[in-house]
């Protein structure tokens, strides 16, 4: 064990920091759940790509830097500390990208990775359906191979698809074998959202903005070379071994550590009138410690993976941990803001309420998306602890 950064890692941190200092937009971008904000974020992705900061863990040939996981964590720390924009294409670069690298053909990698990295192609995910939420294996949307084998014809409906309103592509799972049940007979397919027969219906989220959408497929033709992995192998492609690395990228500790730091600041600025409720001080402290613990465990896992270790079922603990933490931090912030906690920041008398309310609304979804926390608890009990399924 050696908890010092190497000179190379420190130099890397400096490099990231100075690039961000020179390039992060001074004026915060609009929400990417608005059309204009979406476009602004797309441009930011292009800028990151130009500096080869778009996806540093990707190979150099694909516009990355071949960075290791520790460098990734350092990058994220600097990224969040600099207040840089959220990543509008995280579905592409963090989720689909690694899967493409593992399962894609050479031709598919050439075709999709660059567009993904430059922000030209923004991706959304199509897993959930009206009758397939937690029970994803209940997917019914179908893809039928044409007689000449040149394309699939897709019918059905996906829902809750984040950023689908302005996205360019969707990846997801479709049933290619109509006689199949559950995990079998599913195929992973990449679908251009401008295809004929697609209707996207925006769904406003808690904040009123259309952050996700329903996608209807009505005889949508998709060339067969948009299939990722073999026909009927969709489930295993989706559950790819890269699972943890993807999880690690989806919610890096830096994000929560920065929220915790801002929470400490907020508390200190308002300490005089909130200390009447001692539970607030306690909650602030707890938030800080938990965010740090999440960071520590992530570093440990990254180090283990870099030494060739495998990630075990204990990785399923992280989703619950960060989503509960995020809720707790924002709840505490609103308590500190007291009566101003309910005010939207644009209110004339809201004062300096910051983005806490927005964060609170979004934090509500953390225990739901990416596998609800109940499902995570089932997984922990059955796979990590070995408790009986029946």
């Amino acid at each position: 064990m050696n908890l010092n950064y190497t000179p190379k890692q420190q130099a890397f941190r400096e490099e990231v920091r100075s690039w961000l200092a020179a390039n992060v937009p001074v004026q915060a971008l609009q929400s990417f759940d608005t059309e204009e904000g979406f476009q602004q974020h797309r441009e930011w992705e292009a800028k990151l790509y130009e500096g080869r900061w778009g996806m540093i863990t990707w190979p150099e040939a694909m516009g990355g830097r071949g960075a290791d996981l520790l460098e990734w964590l350092i990058f994220e720390e600097e990224y969040y500390a600099a207040g840089a924009p959220l990543r509008v294409n995280q579905n592409g670069i963090f989720l689909l990208g690694p899967t493409l690298m593992e399962y894609g053909t050479e031709e598919q990698k050439q075709r999709f990775l660059t567009g993904m990295a430059t922000g030209t192609d923004i991706w959304c995910q199509g897993w959930s359906e009206p009758n397939a939420g937690s029970d994803m294996a209940a997917i019914r949307s179908s893809a039928t191979l044409s007689e000449d084998g040149s394309h699939y014809v897709i019918n059905g409906q996906k829902t809750w698809s984040t950023r689908a309103v302005w996205a360019d592509w969707c990846f997801g799972m479709f049933r290619t074998d109509p006689a199949s049940e559950r995990h079998r007979g599913l195929t992973f397919i990449l679908v251009p959202l401008n295809s004929e027969g697609i209707t996207v219906r925006p769904i406003p989220q808690l904040d009123g903005l259309p952050g996700f959408a329903e996608i209807f497929f009505d005889n949508v033709k998709v060339p067969v070379d948009c299939r990722l992995g073999g026909e009927g192998e969709g489930w295993s492609v989706a559950m790819a071994t890269a699972g943890f690395e993807r999880g690690l990228m989806l919610r890096s500790p830096a994000r929560f550590q920065e929220t915790a730091r801002r929470l400490v600041e907020l508390y200190r600025a308002n300490q005089q009138h909130v200390d009447d409720d001692p539970s607030i001080r306690d909650a602030v402290m707890r938030a800080y410690l938990d965010a740090e613990a999440y960071c520590l465990t992530t570093y440990q896992t990254a180090c283990r993976l870099m030494q060739g270790g495998k990630i075990g079922a204990e990785a399923s603990t992280n989703k619950i941990f960060w989503s509960e933490l995020d809720l707790q931090m924002h709840a505490t912030a609103l308590k500190i803001l007291q009566c101003r906690g309910e005010l939207l920041p644009e209110g004339p008398d809201a004062g300096d309420v910051g983005r806490w309310l927005d964060g609170w609304l979004f934090a509500q979804s953390g225990p739901i998306y990416a596998g609800t926390n109940e499902i995570q608890r089932n997984i922990i009990a059955e796979r990590l602890l070995g408790m009986p399924r029946k």
Binding site: M1, N2, L3, N4, Y5, T6, Q9, R13, L70, I74, E76, E77, E78, A81, P253, A254, R255, Q257, E258, A260, R261, V264, Y267, R268, R281, D282, V284, M285, Y288, L289, D290, E292, A293, Y294, C295, L296, T297, Y299, Q300, C303, R304, Q307, E314, T317, I320, F321, E374, Q376, R377, N378, I380, A381, E382, L384, L385, G386, M387, P388, R389, K390
Partner: protein
């Protein structure tokens, strides 16, 4: 940056684990409760033979010169079996204190005896009110009014106070300060006391994690066997989620512990805060493990016969040893609420 243990550290942990689980069974603990002292010299010697007593003793005194970081995984294992021998007090508190107190003669007299398993040396700090295992100490090092004294058994009067945990032996210790050997006072004593308290809290935190794991294991086994409504109760989701809640919190209590051990071993400036973080979350998770484990056992968990209670009671007893939550929270608060504190992403290590 490498936040993992070495192959050697893990291998040694494995062999200590095998030894402890074979020797310190719940049955053995129950037998020890019925003896006069509750302690066993033969067991102590076996631990010494494994190198456990010599681990932290400097090489010049016949030890291995290892650190808190080498010991922390072993401390978890002693918690897992609810070991009652004062191994951690002797190896993690007394030994570094004798090494660092600046009394060459005292160190030369006691450290080789500790290393060989010939002596149990116990540190008693005022933060704990009572002194653990004073009855089996060959030498006591006691804090009194900001000074440290070294005392042999004939120099003290002991008054035993039974604990809820039949494995713990706690004593009020009286002695005549004028006749006792004062080994440190003033600033020097304060530094030694603070270091000992940090090591004690680290030892308790590590054991608490071992206890939490043990309570999970016992509960998983019990709920897999016990049937109601025609199915193992462990297949019911309410029962599963009780255990999953302990398991995920346990994962996030481990790394603060390992960082604390590293920081102590390397004399990092934030070591005390790191220890406090580790102690707070470790005791919380052990507490939760106790609460949820008794619940999933039903009435069985409320009995003396089922082994669960020895682990629950140890966890309860540990809650306030080497600093109640308030003590540790105050240290954390001092760091994060002070002007100019470097907080947030990139300031973890």
């Amino acid at each position: 940056m490498d936040f993992t243990f070495s192959e050697d550290q893990l291998l040694f942990r494995d062999s200590v684990r095998d030894f402890l689980r074979a020797e310190i069974t719940p049955q053995r603990n129950r037998e020890l409760w019925l003896t006069d002292t509750g302690r066993c010299s033969a067991l102590w010697q076996q631990m010494a033979d494994m190198g456990l007593c010599a681990l932290t003793v400097p090489e010049q005194y016949g030890g291995m010169g290892m650190s808190e970081l080498d010991f922390v995984l072993l401390a978890e294992e002693t918690g897992y079996v609810a070991l009652s021998e004062p191994l951690l007090n002797t190896a993690l508190l007394a030994t570094p204190l004798l090494r660092d107190c600046g009394h060459a003669a005292l160190a030369a007299q006691w450290l080789p005896r500790i290393a060989s398993g010939d002596a149990r040396v116990i540190v008693g700090l005022e933060i704990n009110t009572l002194v653990e295992d004073a009855h089996c100490a060959d030498l006591l090092i006691l804090e009194r009014n900001g000074a440290l004294y070294a005392l042999t058994p004939d120099q003290v009067q002991l008054r035993e106070n039974p604990s809820v945990d039949p494995g713990r032996k706690l004593f009020a210790v009286e002695f005549d300060g004028a006749k006792a050997e004062k080994i440190a006072e003033g600033e020097g004593a304060l530094a030694l006391i603070e270091a000992a308290c940090n090591r004690g809290a680290l030892a308790v935190a590590a054991q608490a994690l071992g206890l939490a794991q043990r309570m999970i294991d016992i509960s998983v086994q019990y709920t897999s066997e016990r049937k109601q409504f025609g199915a193992p109760i462990g297949s019911f989701q309410a029962v599963k989620h009780h255990m999953a809640n302990v398991a995920y919190k346990l994962e996030y209590a481990k790394t603060p512990l390992y960082r604390a051990a590293y920081s102590l071993a390397n004399s990092r400036p934030q070591a005390g805060v790191h220890v406090s973080h580790a102690k707070l979350v470790a005791c919380e998770v052990a507490d939760l493990a106790a609460k949820n484990s008794i619940q999933v056992h039903g009435a069985m968990g409320y009995t003396w016969e089922v082994d669960l209670h020895m682990f629950m009671k140890r966890a309860w007893a540990f809650n306030s040893s080497y600093g109640a939550a308030g003590f540790h929270k105050a240290r954390v608060a001092q760091r994060i609420f002070s002007d100019g504190a470097l907080l947030g992403a990139g300031n973890t290590f």
